[in-house]
Symmetry: C2
Subunit: 341 residues, 2 copies
DNA sequence: ATTCAAACTGCAAGCGCTTCCAGTATGCCG
DNA sequence: CGGCATACTGGAAGCGCTTGCAGTTTGAAT
């Protein structure tokens, strides 16, 4: 391993100057900088992260806490974060926060305090008070993606508005008996997203003077399998005259699409289905959705993190989203027979 | 931040003894260890990773290089690795190696050399000579998952045998006209896996005295969409009398299943489909597959890494796999009409 | 009781950088 | 041409820990 001293010596300057030349901090003559850069390049010098961190207090690494790598939304966000950090020369330390309570506690208790990171991006985790406190006590910039959480700077889409937009799309098409696949408090692992989306659905109906029919609301775990099972329940309920479904995630919507095929319910002729997320498979399934561009969310979060979120706290950033209309939604066939068994 | 000195002082010992007590290296009396541990706990002491790394040369962090976080196989492996590392108190530094050549080069040139990690696990990346050399020159333990790569210690399933097993399953059921969805050299982003699987398919046919029909072999990119498109090609080819499909990944197999539904080809009555991987959606789709337990692969890789792979090099570990028969495969209906258009 | 090894402990020397500080050189102003 | 600000540079002091070394104590073996 080449040390800074060797580079400095090769360039005919002191280690101090070499350090300044390479880091860009402080004054260095153009000539010296040139020689140092060349020597470093020639010798293949790479700064020792430990030494640099210890001396400067900066680690050039960001911690990312994320719940479930299998869920498309989360690994998309992670991709976005990773991309931006790598481009900026930052490392990414991954904390995969699973349902293992003990491990989770350990991550908050010890891992984060090792000061290996300059900041922490928390993706879609519902934090309890103790965890929030741990994060705050780090004295590091923290960004919560999928908030908002009042105690910490956060970025989030307006989940209620998003779901309302999805429901509005169906309502505007003329649907009136609309089913919902989402979650309730029991699924609030991530900032009440399930609750807030459900609320958005109900509000949308209210604005059309429709009372949500509890029998048309199904809970699921945001996965394809969960959506499939929930949709089967909805399709199977006799006489509900449902013509459309709003699913709180694209994965569940895809599940609903698969269930429809299995039961011979044609989409969009007999049933319109709309999801939320912008899943990569949406195109294949011709799924109408509200795209929340998770990769971009990752980019944005990382960029903000790199700017250190100087703005004191409670920074709450609203993220964009957009309706993408594909083939899974259409005006309801009022004359058609009830597709549900 | 509480320093080791404070802990040592609180426990009435020197920093050296406190360090030994907490790390477990060297001799410390039970009494001293007890007092140090208590003091550390009470003060909330957590070792500074930078200082510890600088002094000891060990960082308690493992780097993981992985290509595509969206692909289920990769994020499964990552989950497994992460789980094992976290349980052992290790951090995971994620290097998401995308198709961006410049970024990729930078990761190998600079990131790895920062000595932030004690070892590197490379998941399913086809390394060129220069990259292999960079890895070797690190002087760190490296494990390649999805090898084998002769130059570096690696772990892999026997891709040829796996695909042969899949094809054998169909052959044993009586299928003779079998299609294949996989890849050729053009898709060899990861250790010739596409090529080796294709070879396994061809060998299996040979053992039954069947020559592979080139028109029944389709290339795809291992995604659901890719499999869907490839399967449509196969189903659409007139007069091929194909009764079964081997897909080199579950995602492509699922694509084939979806295509079958869309074209009215019934599975398994008219068409048997088998995949490879053990995808979590396999259950929903009743997909027969060869499970290679990627999460366990992650565990195994991480465990080996933690044991530092003392054994010099060229450690090549064969990973297990198993056939999981579900509903997507059955004996061919010899009397049935050709399902293909 | 004597000897010796092993257990234990603290001192101090780093690990490889960054950065404060003080000193020298340079440029520009009046 | 003196004076002062500014650019540049190197010395040296850490950053917070680990560990070799040497000294002290203990226990067991003779």
């Amino acid at each position: 391993m080449v040390s800074l001293d060797e580079v400095a010596h090769a360039a005919g300057v002191s280690a101090a100057t070499a350090s300044r030349a390479l880091s860009g901090r402080g004054h260095v003559s153009a000539a010296a900088r040139q020689r140092v850069t060349e020597a470093a390049e020639r010798l293949g010098y790479v700064v020792s992260s430990a030494a640099s961190t210890l001396a400067s207090g900066r680690s050039r690494s960001i911690g990312v806490m994320i719940p479930d790598l299998h869920r498309w939304f989360f690994n998309s966000v992670l991709s976005g974060i990773s991309d931006t950090l790598t481009r900026s020369g930052y490392d990414l330390t991954l904390y995969n926060v699973t349902r293992d309570v003990q491990l989770r506690r350990e991550i908050f208790r010890a891992f984060l305090h090792r000061r290996r990171v300059d900041g922490v991006i928390v993706v879609a985790l519902e934090l309890d008070d103790w965890e929030t406190k741990q994060l705050q006590e780090l004295g590091l910039p923290v960004i919560v993606l999928g908030g908002p959480l009042h105690e910490l700077p956060s970025m989030a889409i307006d989940d209620q508005a998003v779901t309302q937009l999805a429901a509005d799309h169906l309502l505007a098409l003329g649907h009136r008996k609309i089913g919902y696949i989402g979650g309730d408090q029991a699924f609030d692992a991530d900032y009440h997203v399930p609750s807030r989306r459900r609320q958005g659905f109900i509000s949308a109906l209210h604005r059309y003077g429709i009372e949500a029919d509890e029998s048309l609301v199904q809970s699921a775990d945001f996965t394809i399998e969960g959506g499939y099972a929930a949709a089967k329940q909805l399709y199977g309920a006799p006489g509900n005259h449902m013509t459309g479904i709003v699913a709180a995630s694209d994965e569940m919507a895809i599940g609903a699409l698969l269930a429809a095929r299995d039961l011979g319910v044609s989409v969009p002729q007999q049933m319109s289905v709309i999801g939320i997320d912008g899943h990569e498979l949406g195109h294949l399934f011709q799924l109408t959705t509200v795209d929340q561009q998770p990769v971009s969310q990752g980019h944005t979060a990382a960029e903000h993190m790199l700017r250190r979120v100087e703005s004191d706290d409670k920074v709450t950033i609203d993220l964009p989203y957009s309706l993408v209309v594909r083939g899974s939604t259409a005006v309801p066939a009022h004359d058609a027979p009830n597709p549900c068994v």
